[in-house]
Symmetry: none
Subunit: 243 residues, 2 copies
């Protein structure tokens, strides 16, 4: 048996027995090479095998980290990210990547029924389960009748709460489109996957009760960690507020 396989086995049991917990950083390749008394490349061979089957995730310049095993995430027509994950026994959280106010690009202007170049609030973020990134989202709001939304989004870290403070107490999804894409470099970094791995992209438009567009949203789910299901959970979904 090659040395690297025994190293892989040793690291695997280290992880399984909790010496390295999910999210932990492994010792550096150089340190592991010292520990096992081999060259760095031999350790790399073992790590690349572990990364291949998803037990670890390595990041250039930073280190190698233990991955979590991910459960599936159901998505209905009126979906609460928080409630779905809590129902699955996981701890949901969000990370703000960027909140800014800028000009609308043509697609955004079209969807939100704005003039090209009108200002929009843009909210980029990361949806996580147990600190593990599940999806990247971008929500775009018309700035004209939601002047203080960026402030509210930063405070609440919740779209629903932020909109409620601005007077939008309810909104419904006008349409949703789903497509598959390949992860770009930065998407892969955020979602801790490899470049080119499959993503599920959903694009949707939310309207307030008067029919005004209030949110144009785009979400990229990690294809390995999420399956989207429509229509089969309406009972649960109806009892939920949109998120």
């Amino acid at each position: 048996m090659p040395i690297w396989q025994s190293i892989r086995a040793a690291l695997t049991t280290d992880i399984q027995e909790g010496r390295y917990a999910p999210g932990d950083k492994l010792p550096t390749e150089a340190a592991l090479a010292r520990r096992f008394g081999v060259h760095r490349h031999t350790v790399r061979r073992a790590i690349s095998d572990l990364a291949n089957d998803g037990t670890v995730y390595s990041r250039r310049g930073s280190g190698v980290y233990v991955q979590q095993t991910i459960t599936e995430y159901p998505l209905g027509r009126r979906v609460s990210f928080t409630r779905n994950l809590e129902a699955a026994g996981r701890l949901p959280s969000r990370e703000i990547l960027l909140i800014e106010t800028r000009s609308a690009d043509p697609k955004e202007a079209d969807a939100l029924n704005l003039e090209p170049g009108e200002l929009v609030h843009c909210y980029d973020g990361l949806s996580c389960a147990d600190e593990q990134p599940l999806a990247i989202f971008r929500s775009v709001f018309p700035a004209s009748f939601l002047p203080d939304l960026p402030n509210a989004l930063g405070r609440f870290n919740s779209i629903t709460e932020g909109l409620r403070e601005q007077g939008i107490t309810d909104y419904t999804r006008a349409w949703t489109s789903v497509s598959a894409q390949s992860a770009t470099a930065t998407q892969a970094l955020h979602l801790r996957m490899t470049v080119g791995a499959p993503l599920l992209q959903t694009i949707s438009l939310n309207l307030d009760p008067r029919g005004r567009p209030v949110e144009y949203g785009c979400t990229w789910f990690s294809g390995d960690k999420v399956t989207l299901t429509f229509g089969c959970d309406d009972d649960v979904a109806r009892s939920q507020k949109p998120d």
Copy 2:
């Protein structure tokens, strides 16, 4: 493909599709690093590339801004900064740097046909398009038959208006020379470019209808933002009032 190149590509499309318009400030490097999930240095690598090809420029302590597109600047017998820019759909403006009366240096005396040491009015300023500096200029006038010009220049912030008040209702360009130079530190600061970046320097002499020299002008255009055109626009130039 390195990550920084994909970040550069993302920012480029952001700019091309209008999410960041010319003159806009990009998010801070720290914010962009969060947005792309990388270290600040990686964002800087992308930005430095964009700055290198003139897409953006950065100011220490302030931020990174989208560069204006190149302006076509026709040079004819009657050159009007204001009209040239209005014709290009830009908003022209000027900033006064210095107005003083002093002795002419040899070159100025020679061009204006004065005795060495005779008094001249010197007018240094900044020409801007859409609030962005395009050029630095220095205009030198014989003080002898234009005693109140400095006052007028300060009030009107326009050479044409100032001269008109002093009785010079028209003037034409006797000659123009063009050369290329590297930006000094102070020039770079005013024009918001890097030290050593290319400048277009034009030196010109304007005569009144009786053939008297009235203005000896020197202008340094930002090479990135301006292209000068000659000869092919005489019709347009003749129909313009000098400025």
